[in-house]
C-alpha cells in the first residue's frame, strides 16, 4: 500500500513578482511610520535637542533612505518573503550538513513572548530567573547528551563555536607556557571549513587529513601529522559525507598522547543523539548547533547559537559568565580563572535557547533517540533510492554499507555523460519547488551534492524529492540544454555572474550600482 504510491511531480511555479529594488519604490515625502515627539514641557525645557551637537558634527544632508508609506513597505517585503523558499514550505533535505528540520510553531510563541524579547541583559538577576533557568537547564540537558560537564551559549553560530573552542585550546597551551611551540591544529577535509578557518584566526597552522580509500579519516596520516607542535584536533564525526569514523577514540588518544586537545564539531549530531557521545569518544570540547539539531529555525542565516561544551578541567577557560544555581536562585558567575574573556557580548541568543529547551522537553530521552533513529533511517532509505538514479553515484559505498544522517553524492558520471553539472542540477531543482545544495569546497568528491533528510520529512516527501532528481537526470540525458538553462519556474531566471567578481562592476549596495552602472532602471 504505502510503498506503491507513486510520487507525483508538481507543476510548480514560485512567486515571480518582478519586484523592484526598494529604492525604486521611493516617493518623496512618504512616511512609513511616525516617531513620537517629545512632550511640550520637555521641548520647552531643552529646545530642539540637536543644537547640542557641535555644528561640525550635525548631519547636514539626511540619509538618502527610500521613502514609502507603510502598506507599501509591507507589500514589498511580503513579495520578497514569497520569493524565499523557507523550510516550512519545501522538502528541505537538499541542504546537507545543516539539519533543516521542523521548527515547532508553539516554540515561536515562547521565542517571541515579551517575557523573552523585552529583557535587558543587565537586569538584576532576581528579575530574570526564568531566562537564567532556561539557560541553566539547557546546559544540563546538553551535558546529558554529550557527557561533557559544562556548556555556554555565547557563540552566535557553529563557526563561532569553533572559534571559541580554538580560543580555549590556545588559552590552555598558553597556561602551560607552550603556546609558542604548539601551533598546529589538525582537521579533516570532510570537517566543516570553519574548523580550519577559525583555528587559523587564532594563529594556528592547519594540517588537513584526507580520507583513506574507504572514505574514512586516515589514522596513519594522523600518526604522521602529530608531533610536539600539535595543539589540537578539530574534527567532525560523522563526517560531512555521512560516514562515522569508528576509530575516533584512537584519533583522540593519539592526539592526547602527543599533548594536544580534541574538539568535536557536532554539527552532524542529529543521527547520533543518545547513541554515542563526545565523552566516550575522548573529546575535551564539543559544540551543538541549537538552530539546527535542536530545531530553532535558521532565520536566513541566524540569529543562532553554537553551544560550546567542555570537560571539567577546561571549564576554567570558558567565556564569562557561566550560569549557576545555588539551590534557590540562578545567577551569573564571572569567577572563571583563565577565561578567554568573551566571544559575544552578554549571554547568547535567548530565543534560540528557549526553542531548543522546549524542543528537548517535548521529546525527552526516548524522543531524542527516535529523532536520531528516524533521521538515519530516512537517510539510508533516501540513499538506496538515489543509487537507482542514472548518473548519480555514492562514493565510498559498498554492499551492505550504511550511512548515518547524510550522504555526499556525486554527479561525476552524469557530467561525463551529458555535460550537465551539479550546479546545473541545482538550478533545475528550483523548478520543482525544491532546494538543493552542492557541497562545501574543495570538491574532493566531484560534482557533489549532500542531502540530509533529518527526521522531519515523510516517506512520501522523500519519494517526491527523489522523483524530482530522477526527472532532472532524465532531462540531462535527453535534453541537457534544458537543465543547463534552468531555472524556468523560479522567482528569477539564470543570473549574469559577471557583475559579482569584477571590482569595476560589482555593486554591493544600490548607491554603488547607480555609481557604476548609471540609472538604467528602465533599460
Amino acid at each position: 500500500m504505502l510503498e506503491n504510491k507513486k510520487a507525483k511531480l508538481r507543476n510548480f511555479h514560485q512567486a515571480h513578482w518582478d519586484e523592484p529594488v526598494i529604492f525604486e519604490l521611493s516617493a518623496k515625502g512618504a512616511r512609513g511610520i511616525l516617531v513620537p515627539e517629545a512632550e511640550e514641557e520637555i521641548k520647552a525645557e531643552v529646545g530642539d535637542g540637536i543644537s547640542r551637537i557641535p555644528a561640525h558634527l550635525r548631519r547636514k544632508e539626511p540619509p538618502a533612505l527610500p521613502e514609502l508609506c507603510q502598506a507599501q513597505v509591507l507589500r514589498h517585503y511580503l513579495h520578497l518573503s514569497q520569493a524565499t523558499l523557507g523550510a516550512d514550505l519545501n522538502i528541505e533535505i537538499g541542504q546537507g550538513t545543516c539539519t533543516i528540520k521542523y521548527s515547532p510553531k508553539i516554540n515561536e510563541s515562547f521565542a517571541t513572548s515579551s517575557k523573552v524579547t523585552e529583557l535587558h541583559p543587565f537586569q538584576a538577576e532576581g528579575t530574570v530567573q526564568g531566562a537564567l533557568e532556561i539557560l541553566y537547564k539547557t546546559d544540563m540537558f546538553l551535558r546529558e547528551i554529550s557527557g561533557l560537564s559544562r556548556f555556554v551559549f555565547q557563540p552566535g553560530g557553529g563557526s563561532h563555536g569553533l572559534f571559541a573552542i580554538a580560543s580555549m585550546i590556545r588559552a590552555y597551551h598558553e597556561s602551560r607556557g607552550e603556546s609558542g611551540k604548539r601551533d598546529e591544529i589538525i582537521t579533516t577535509i570532510f570537517s566543516h571549513p570553519s574548523n580550519a578557518a577559525a583555528a587559523a584566526v587564532k594563529g594556528f597552522k592547519v594540517i588537513t587529513l584526507y580520507p583513506d580509500k574507504d572514505g574514512y579519516p586516515d589514522v596513519d596520516a594522523l600518526r604522521e601529522a602529530v608531533s610536539d607542535r600539535t595543539a589540537g584536533l578539530m574534527i567532525t564525526n560523522p563526517e560531512d559525507h555521512g560516514l562515522f569514523n569508528s576509530k575516533i577514540a584512537e584519533f583522540t588518544r593519539i592526539v592526547h598522547e602527543a599533548g594536544g586537545l580534541c574538539s568535536y564539531d557536532q554539527a552532524n549530531a542529529n543521527g547520533i543523539l543518545g547513541m554515542t557521545r563526545a565523552l566516550e569518544g575522548g573529546f575535551d570540547f564539543c559544540f551543538f548547533n541549537l538552530h539546527k539539531t535542536f530545531s530553532s529555525p535558521h532565520g536566513c542565516g541566524g540569529p543562532a547559537v553554537g553551544a560550546v561544551g567542555v570537560r571539567k578541567e577546561f571549564e576554567q577557560f570558558l567565556p564569562v559568565p557561566l550560569i549557576d544555581f545555588d539551590g534557590e536562585k540562578y545567577f551569573l558567575n564571572y569567577d572563571v580563572k583563565n577565561s578567554i574573556g568573551k566571544v559575544r557580548m552578554f549571554y547568547g541568543v535567548l530565543p534560540v535557547v528557549a526553542r531548543a529547551y522546549a524542543w528537548i522537553m517535548s521529546l525527552g530521552e526516548e524522543g531524542l533517540k527516535e529523532v536520531a533513529r528516524i533521521a538515519v533511517l530516512n537517510n539510508n532509505y533516501l540513499m538506496r533510492n538515489i543509487s537507482k538514479i542514472r548518473g548519480a553515484t555514492i562514493p565510498y559505498d559498498a554492499p551492505g554499507k550504511h550511512r548515518l544522517e547524510q550522504v555526499r553524492y556525486s554527479w561525476e558520471k552524469l557530467t561525463k555523460d551529458t555535460g550537465v553539472t551539479t550546479e546545473d542540477v541545482q538550478r533545475r531543482m528550483c523548478d520543482f519547488g525544491m532546494h538543493y545544495w552542492t557541497s562545501h569546497h574543495p570538491w574532493i568528491i566531484p560534482e557533489p551534492f549532500t542531502l540530509e533528510p533529518t527526521e522531519s520529512y515523510s516517506k512520501e516527501e522523500l519519494d517526491e524529492y527523489v522523483a524530482a532528481l530522477k526527472q532532472v537526470s532524465e532531462e540531462a540525458y535527453t535534453d541537457p540544454e534544458k537543465v543547463k538553462n534552468a531555472p524556468y519556474n523560479s522567482c528569477i531566471h539564470k543570473i549574469d555572474p559577471s557583475l559579482l567578481d569584477d571590482p569595476k562592476k560589482w555593486a554591493i549596495t544600490w548607491r554603488s550600482y547607480l555609481k557604476k552602472h548609471g540609472k538604467d532602471i528602465d533599460a
Binding site: P63, G86, I374, R384, H435, I492
Partner: protein, 466 residues
Amino acid sequence: MKDKDNFIYPYIPNSLPEFKQSMMREIGINEVDELYQDIPKELRFKGKMNLPKPLHSEMDLKRHMEEILSKNRTCEENVSFLGAGCWRHYVPAICDEINSRAEFLTAYAGEPYEDHGRFQALFEYESMMAELVDMDVVNVPTYDGAQAAATSLRMASRITGRKEVLIAGAIHPERLLVIKNYLNPDIKPISVNYDKVSGQVDLEDLRQKVSSKTAAIYFENPTYFGCIECQGENISRIAHEDGALVVTFVDPISLGVIAPPSHYGADIVCGDIQPLGIHMNYGGGCGGFIATRDEEKFVMEYPSRLFGITRTVVEGEWGFGDVAYERTSFAKREEGKEFVGTAAALWGITAGVYLALMGPQGMKDIGKTIMQKAQYAARKLSAINGVKAPLHDAPYFKEFVVDFNATGITVEEVNNALLKEGIFGGKDLSREFPPLGQSALYCITEVHSKNDIDHLVETLNEILTR
C-alpha cells in the same frame, strides 16, 4: 499509544510503524539499529540520559514554558533605564510581522533563485545601511557589534600589514573582552586614555602611542559613557599621518542627526543594528555591521557574505548573488578571510524593514526626540541633591553617566531601592570603571515618556532623602 515501539511523534512522520517497516524492507534491514554498524560497541552510549519526563502534549509544554517565563520581569512591565550595548527602542509592528514570516524565519542557505527574496532583502539592508553611514559597502550582518568591531580591526591589520591597534579607553568593557580575544595572539591592542573631564579621546596620549606600527585607531561614537566624540577629524588626521586606518564604532540610530563617521575620516565603520527595529532579547537581538568604501583592498578583506546586484537572462529582471565569494572560508577554508557562517541575517532583514519604514525624516525625528528626552532627564536628575548628570562635560546622545558619589549611598543600594518601585536603574559602573566611584550609565530613548522620567526623578529624590 505510549508503548515505545508504537508511539507516534507529531514532529517525526516516519515514526509511523508502517513507514518504518516499509523503509527498512527497502534498505534490507530488520532493525534500525543495524544502521549504526560503524559505531563500535565501546562507543555506543548504554546509559540513560537524565532528562526530564517529556511533555508530549503541546498544551502541557505551553503551560510549562509559561510557568518558567512568568518568572521574568520585563522592561515592558517596569521602567528600564538600562542601555550599555543593548537598548530598548520602539519596534514597529511591521518589523515583527516580516521577521516572523515563515519564509524568512525558516529559510537558510538557498540559491539566488528560490531564495531570491532573501538575497534581495539583505542587499537592500546593505544598501540602506550604506545610506545611513554614507559609505558604499556594507556586509551581511555578523554575530554582534563586538564581532563587527573585532573583524574591522583584523581587516585593518591585513590592509595595512601592521600588528598594533590603538583602542580608545571609553569603550564598552564587554566589547573590549571580545575584541581582545579575537585579536589574540598576533595583533596587539593598546589602550588610549580618555580625558576624565570630557570623556573623549585624550589626543595627547593618542599622539604618544600612534606609530608606524599602528594598523588602526578605534574609537566609539557615542562613547561607552554616551558622550559624542567631537574630535573625529583630529583623530583621523593623527591616524592617517602615520598611515593607520580609522575604525569607528557608531550607534546607527544616532545617524539621522549626527554626522556619520565617514564624514570625519573613518575608513571602516562598524556597530550594532539592534536599535533598528530589533527587540533586546536579553542581548540576543544584537547583530553587527561593517561598512567601508568600495575599494578592492577593503572589499577583499571582508570575511562576511556580501550580496551584490546583477541582471538575469531576462531583460529588466534583477538578480542577486555573492560578491567575491572566493574571499570566504566557505571557498578557501583556512586560506579565506577569517571565517563565515550562520550569524544574524534575520536581524539584518529586520533592520532593513526598519530603515525603509523610518526613511530620512524618521531617522532625523527619532534622533531629535531621543536627544530632547535625554537632555531633559539629565537636567532633572542633576537637580537632585548630590547627583551630577551628566558626569562628563560633553554633548551626549542617548546615554550619560550619573554620578552618585556625593549622595553617600552606593549605586547598588540606589538600584535595589528603585527596583522595589518597578524601575530598573542605570548600569552600575563602579566595578568596571573604579575611578568613577559610585556612578551609573543611564539610557533614555524615545520609549521613555516625560512621566517615566519624572517618576524616576521623584523616586530617586525619595530614596536619597530617606
